[in-house]
């Protein structure tokens, strides 16, 4: 038996494999509790234990084999339907898993399984036998194995979370992926050889560099792919944890997952493991109330914990939300003041959002009592620090009595970031694309109009909201170069940590995928740059930390209410959004008709236009079509018509689309501009009963009641 020696490769592989098997088993077990009829789950668990048993026998780990054997017996009985799935059975199987895991950890650490039949094992085996049922006669002999009694059992079966050994350092990669990588590396070498042979002047040089480009991209893609792991691997251990926690805290909790397939870089997955565990623990212990309290609050006795992972603009968001009591803001504030984290005045002036972020301060815990599970005051600050270390961010949302959501945002990968390179004050800077919302061109001639002042602050009116403007060169104390000769500026609308602002730069260079290089501590301390990178042309550029830049410039996160308001606005806007046909009738004025009203656009010779009773009309498909000429196009055309007989006029044939009113009419226009979506402005913003809409950011009159007014007018004529 390999004792106290280095763990050999075979064993290492076995451990990694078994840990995986046990992880699977853990997932299945907790699922089994809710779906006891599922035969496949039992099969899966059986296979995991069976594999361990088989391999251990081969490797000579007797203790492990015995335990696995006992478990296998029970599981085969379960598979054959001889025993029922009960809560005790699940608990027993979970203990079996812990036992197996503990031995595995021991093997990993010491190289041996601890050649002793500890009391624990014997008891566990007896318990498993008992669970298998009264019918199991021969298994009754198993307790005999408690011959050798070892007083100090060094094992800590609860330490399943601390299995940070071999299995965490290894990564399973599909051989095909590895082959592909090797192929690409080969290709890379070949391309290099060719490049070395052919000079810059060679005709095939551009082609070679193109190939180099594609090979590099492919290789990067493959390596990244190999490093990606589904978040589900991480989620897998939570059902068990929550189950145990819920029992300890006297809660009843159901766990729900979404987005387990979301891929995340292995190292990032490791990095968020602890913060996530902490968040889940917090949610069960502090978030979800005891069943009694929940009933009183009119909620289901069983609390619900949701783990959600999804992609959002270049990063992965992981949410832990509970439907518990929520965070009481007054208590947060009171505690923060009590702990001296903020002054009473500061506390009073805080917005809801700001107050909530206080929980991330070091030394903060609102738990009334320190429990074994959490509440020792080391908590959310560590969560935040851990997530921020990998370039992520954490935010919390809470509603008293409804629940709390903790949102972690982590980048997909650490090394390569798509970004936009901009210039300001004669220097290049890289802005991460993930923070970039949109770009606004600020031509020099317009700058005085679009930039508005509120006191000393400059704001830009972007659609219907005011956006604080931050001039990068001023913020960084750079000389704003050649202000006179500059054609204008660009504004990058950025969003980070809930702050949205416009960063004004001199020029946009190009979007580029940059390789992040860390800065030395001295430069990190400046707090505005998150790194540096070498650009395609060989020069350096600093990477702006968008959130820190906002903080430096004094941009505050948008108020919660504002967001709410916007959401409502957005909802109504959706309703008021419609397709419009935009045309010009009066000179320099844009008018629009709902597209649903317009049937056709006709080009009509002037002579077909007839007049009756001072009103223009035309014959169209056998009916008399009254014409509306708001822009006096016809009069104008008439004046010019003398020399050119066959002048054409554009007429929109409009029909009453809704309702029975069959009456059609024509609208004479100068020219049709566009068919596009637009948004009607609120009634109070419109002028004199005119319906205005924003169509491509231009004010447009919409004739919503065109038919109505026409009908009235026509009757008058008739």
């Amino acid at each position: 038996m390999p004792d106290k020696e280095d763990v050999d490769d075979l064993t290492k592989e076995f451990i990694a494999e078994s840990q995986e098997g046990l992880d699977r088993m853990e997932r299945c077990l907790t699922e089994l509790e809710s779906r006891p009829e599922d035969g496949e789950l039992v099969g899966e668990i059986f296979r995991a234990v069976h594999t361990i048993k088989g391999t251990t026998g081969f490797l000579g780990f007797d203790r492990l084999e015995k335990l696995a054997h006992a478990g296998e017996h029970l599981l085969s009985a379960l598979r054959d339907g001889k025993v029922e799935v009960t809560s005790e059975l699940i608990s027993g199987l979970l203990r079996l898993m812990d036992g197996l895991r503990a031995i595995l950890i021991l093997i990993e650490e010491t190289g041996g399984e601890g050649a002793r039949f500890s009391d624990e094992d014997g008891e566990l085996i007896a318990e498993l036998a008992a669970l298998k049922g009264q019918t199991a006669g021969e298994e009754r002999t198993l307790p005999e194995m408690r011959q050798v009694e070892e007083p100090a059992a060094v094992l800590n079966p609860a330490s399943s979370g601390s299995a940070s050994g071999v299995s965490d350092k290894t990564l399973r990669i599909d051989v095909s992926v590895l082959n592909r990588m090797m192929n690409l590396v080969g290709e890379l070498v070949l391309t290099r050889n060719q490049m070395l042979r052919s000079g810059l002047a060679e005709a095939n040089f551009p082609e070679l560099s193109r190939r180099l480009d594609s090979v590099t991209a492919d290789l990067r893609e493959t390596v990244m792919q190999a490093r990606m792991q589904p978040v589900g691997n991480l989620f897998g251990k939570f059902p068990r944890m929550v189950r145990d926690l819920a029992r300890t805290c006297g809660r009843s909790v159901r766990v729900e997952f979404t987005g387990q397939d979301t891929g995340l870089d292995k190292s990032l997955l490791e990095a968020i493991k602890d913060p996530l565990t902490h968040a889940v623990r917090n949610a069960v212990d502090h978030g979800i109330e005891a069943p009694g309290a929940r009933m009183l609050a009119g909620k289901a006795a069983e609390g619900c914990l949701r783990l959600r992972a999804f992609h959002q603009s270049g990063s992965v968001v992981i949410e832990v939300s509970d439907d518990g009591a929520g965070i009481a803001l007054e208590r947060v504030l009171a505690k923060a003041v009590e702990r001296g984290l903020v002054t009473a005045d500061q506390a009073a002036a805080m917005s809801e959002r700001e107050a909530l972020q206080l929980i991330f301060l070091p030394g903060f815990s609102t738990a009334a009592a320190v429990t074994t599970v959490s509440g020792r005051g080391v908590g959310m600050d560590v969560v935040r620090a851990n997530v921020e270390r990998v370039g992520g961010s954490v935010e919390v949302e809470s509603r008293l009595g409804v629940g709390t959501t903790l949102r972690m945002r982590v980048p997909l990968t650490l090394a390569i970031v798509p970004s936009l390179v901009v210039r300001s004050g004669g220097q290049s800077f890289a802005l991460p694309q993930s923070a970039l919302v949109e770009l606004v061109d600020l031509p020099k001639r317009d700058i005085a109009q679009v930039v508005q002042q509120i006191g000393s602050a400059e704001v830009y009116r972007l659609r219907e909201s005011l956006l604080p403007m931050v001039w990068l060169d001023r913020l960084l104390g750079l000389e704003s170069c050649e202000a006179e000769t500059r054609q204008g500026h660009y504004m990058a609308v950025l969003e980070a940590d809930g702050c949205r602002y416009g960063l004004v730069v001199d020029d946009l260079v190009s979007p580029e995928e940059i390789v992040v290089k860390p800065l030395s501590a001295v430069l990190r301390e400046i707090g505005v740059f998150s790194g540096a990178t070498v650009l395609g042309n060989g020069t350096l550029a600093l990477i702006l930390d968008v959130g820190a830049t906002a903080a430096r410039a004094g941009v505050k996160p948008a108020e919660e209410e504002m967001v709410e308001l916007k959401r409502i606005e957005a909802a109504t806007e959706e309703v008021r959004e419609m397709s419009l046909l935009v045309f010009e009738d009066r000179l320099r004025e844009r008018t629009a008709l709902p597209l649903s009203v317009v049937e056709r656009i006709e080009s009509v010779p002037m002579r077909q236009i007839e007049y009756a009773g001072g009103r223009a009309m035309m014959q169209y498909r056998g009916e008399l079509l009254p014409l509306r000429d708001d822009g006096a196009v016809l009069v104008e055309m008439d004046a010019r018509q003398t020399e050119r007989e066959d002048a054409m006029v554009t007429v929109l044939i409009c029909g009453g689309a809704g309702g029975e009113r069959k009456l059609r009419f024509g609208m004479v226009v100068r020219k049709v501009l566009d068919v596009t979506g637009g948004r009607l402005l609120e009634g109070d913003r419109a002028l004199d009963g005119l319906d205005l809409a924003l169509v491509k950011e231009k004010v447009t009159v919409v004739q919503l009641d065109a038919e109505l007014s026409m009908t009235a007018a026509w009757r008058e004529v008739a």
Binding site: Q357, F360, G425, Q427, L476, G477, L478, D497, K517, P518, L519, S520, A521, V522, L523, R524, E525, I526, G527, V528, F529, G531, A532, T533, V534, G538, T539, L540, A541, L542, A548, A551, R552
Partner: protein, 182 residues
């Protein structure tokens, strides 16, 4: 990169070979003075390079420069001495200390060459030095042509310079802001 073992090996090598205790220093110039740094602490002399300035960095930081896949912070030696900006082009020395594993650049006016000097030519700092200079200088070698001031690369590390606070004439809020960022 040298490991501690090779370092030791070199030292032993020196001891055996040169009983007269000869040290090799790389000489360089800044302003009117001549300075020297132990050649073993110098990774490479980069020569003239374009430095990329970092806005809001401490005064003694000359900028950043790409070097073997890393981005190095460079220390402006003239700024440490309180001299004005050099008019011509500057040279960058890449220094490395094996303990802290911190690589950084030192921007000087010009690099002279390697000089072999005997240890007994070294004289300690005079007691009348200003505090800044006392921090920077590590004695001087009496050479025939004049004095060569010895520098301790460990003390020139940007992080060390930031810690001392001696060289922060221009107060930059960066350090304070980073701690109280929500």
């Amino acid at each position: 990169m040298r490991t501690a073992e090779t370092e030791q090996a070199i030292e032993i090598h020196y001891e055996i070979q040169d009983e007269s205790e000869v040290v090799s220093l790389c000489s360089f110039y800044a302003g009117s003075g001549m300075f020297g740094i132990d050649t073993r602490k110098i990774c490479e002399v980069l020569g003239e390079r374009d430095l990329h300035c970092v806005p809001m960095a401490p005064v003694f930081v000359a900028g950043i420069v790409p070097y073997r896949g890393d981005v190095l912070t460079t220390v402006n030696f003239r700024a440490l001495l309180g001299l004005d900006e050099h008019t011509g082009r500057s040279c960058v020395l890449v220094l490395e200390d094996d303990e802290a594993r911190e690589r950084f650049g030192l921007v000087v006016d010009a690099v002279g060459g390697v000089v072999m000097l005997s240890r007994d030519m070294l004289e300690a700092n005079p007691c009348t030095l200003e505090p800044r200079e006392r921090w920077l200088f590590d004695g001087a070698y009496k050479m025939r042509t004049g004095l060569m001031v010895r520098l301790d690369p460990l003390r020139l590390r940007p992080s060390r310079l930031a810690e001392t606070g001696l060289f922060r004439q221009r107060i930059n809020g960066g350090t304070d802001a980073s701690t109280d960022r929500r």
